[in-house]
């Protein structure tokens, strides 16, 4: 018997893996096609399909409302854009306050604890209502009665509570030996935090924070309840105008166009970090 070389330049294992991969792709494609085919065939058989198609997937309404809704979505992006950096900074303040050890500054620590407890414990939409309607109700002069300001503040306050906890988990994940190394050189506790612990902690929590900011981009739509005509409210206006729900589907698709790539990117960052740590 002769052991013939399987193929030039390929080991037996490589050949096996290539075959297995090909087989996998074929099977995955077939089963996906089967499921999609079933949905395409079966769903239209439902008795109400005609009506649903007409009111949710109306091509004409889609094309008519799409440009206006994309425009309205830019307002969501703008609100997100000014909220996100403020959250990143305010959350860091809260996170650092929670770790204050100086007895004279205990009130700060107490404040931070109460703050995170309260804002993580109340539904976002409630905070939006309470602040968005409550504060302008004080009779403030323009522009201080704007729902943009107070709605944004509601988002900032709520999300900062979550992001502060993420920061804290990052700070705690830095090994005690890093702190020991800095202190052993004679560095102060605050310098140790600022130059040694925080830079590492902040890098480590980037993926977790990405997920928070994706959630924030969606929750900007909650401001529609207190006034700003952003994409959800604009879709509502079209719905009433055209007596058709398709604008909501359009709004959902617009959100997905932003959130899916962002989610994929966050997953990529997490995977990269896991590789780096293993």
């Amino acid at each position: 018997m002769t052991l013939a070389p399987a193929a030039p330049g390929k080991t037996r294992r490589e050949l096996h893996e290539t075959r297995a991969r090909r087989r996998g792709i074929v099977i995955a494609s077939l089963s996906t096609l089967l499921v999609i085919g079933a949905i395409v065939v079966l769903v239209p058989l439902a008795p109400g399909w005609e009506a649903v198609q007409e009111s949710f997937f109306n091509g004409e309404v889609f094309l008519r409302t799409f440009p206006k809704l994309v425009q309205a979505f830019l307002l969501d992006v703008a609100i997100f854009a000014w909220c996100a950096p403020l959250i990143a900074v305010w959350a860091l303040v809260i996170a650092l306050c929670r770790d204050v050890r100086n007895p004279a500054l205990y009130p700060l620590r107490l404040f931070a604890i109460l703050y995170t407890d309260i804002f993580r414990g109340v539904p976002v939409v409630l905070v939006v209502y309470l602040i968005g309607f409550g504060v302008p109700g004080l009779g403030l002069p323009r522009p201080w009665n704007s729902p943009y300001i107070w709605g944004s503040l509601a988002l900032i306050l709520t999300y900062s509570a979550y992001v502060a906890e993420i920061y804290r988990s990052g700070i705690e994940s830095i090994h005690a030996s890093q702190r020991a190394a800095a202190l052993s050189l004679g560095m102060s506790k605050s310098d140790t935090m600022r130059f040694v612990i925080l830079p590492q902690a902040l890098r480590r929590v980037v993926p977790a924070n990405m997920n928070m900011f994706i959630a924030l981009q969606k929750d900007v739509a909650l401001l529609s309840f207190i006034g700003p005509v952003e994409v959800l409210r604009q879709a509502g206006v079209f719905k009433s105008l055209l007596a058709n729900f398709t604008p909501y589907v359009v709004a959902a698709i617009i959100f997905l166009c932003v959130t899916i790539p962002a989610t994929r990117y966050a997953d990529y960052l997490i995977a990269k970090q896991n590789r780096a740590r293993s």
Partner: protein, 242 residues
């Protein structure tokens, strides 16, 4: 001249005494090696001297000054006492040069430009000139440990403590780190070193201390301690490791 004095030092973690009434004297320019089994208190002792761990009772004196007073700010004391760790503990987000510069920049308020000649000199002396701009994960274990030593030296400490600094290294990298210690010894640096490198201790140490259960059971010049140990436990330990 006596430089560092420990008197009846006590330290417990919970109910477990780790340092149990320990006395030690280190003279200026001496290299003192601490040997003993794992858990005998060598690492804890070094961390106590650097004030990373507060001691429960007793005194630690540096240059005649009680540095172990709990009311005292440990920060200025630590600047005078360098500590190098088994696991290097370099700051991974900084280059080798930034690792070394951070403490002098923040504490002595010196600028990078003011520090550079001095620090470049240290890197050069320990054969790391071409690695100043590298990050810790781009360096070998031996190189990382040498950077960690430079980082401690950059504060110009009066005394250096080494906590099993070659234990985490591959055998072929141990030599380059021990060479650094030989150089420091030749320059008259006062050093206390916890180590399992018995050959090195025998060669370089002025005094070897055998620790057992948080106490110095036996101490003396290396030829005496390695050649003719008096205590049964010292003999048992040495015959197990040599």
């Amino acid at each position: 001249m006596t430089h560092l004095v420990l008197r009846n030092v006590q330290k417990s973690f919970g109910n477990k005494p780790v340092i149990d009434g320990l006395d030690l004297e280190v003279n200026e320019g001496d290299m003192v090696c601490l040997i003993g089994a794992s858990g005998s208190g060598k690492s804890t002792l070094l961390r106590c001297i650097n004030l990373l761990e507060p001691i429960d009772d007793g005194f630690i004196e540096l240059d005649g000054q009680d540095i172990s007073d709990p009311e005292r700010d440990p920060q200025p004391v630590r600047q005078r006492i360098g500590l190098v760790f088994q696991s290097f503990n370099l700051f991974p987000h900084m280059t080798a040069e930034e690792n070394v510069m951070l403490a002098p920049r923040r504490i002595k308020r010196l600028s990078r430009d003011q520090l550079r000649p001095d620090i470049a000199g240290l890197f050069d002396r320990f054969g790391l000139s071409e690695h100043m701009q590298h990050y810790p994960d781009q360096l070998s274990g031996g190189q990382q440990q040498r950077v960690a030593i430079i980082r401690a030296l950059a504060m110009r400490p009066e005394i250096m403590l080494f906590d099993e600094i070659t234990s985490a290294l591959d055998p072929e990298l141990v030599g380059e780190v021990l060479d650094v210690l030989r150089q420091l010894k030749a320059q008259g640096m006062t050093m206390v070193m916890a180590t399992h490198e018995m050959g090195f201790a025998r060669e370089v140490a002025d005094k070897v201390c055998f620790l057992s259960d948080g106490r110095i059971l036996e101490q003396g010049p290396p030829e005496q301690l390695f050649g003719a140990p008096q205590q049964a436990r010292t003999q048992a330990f040495l015959s197990a490791v040599l």
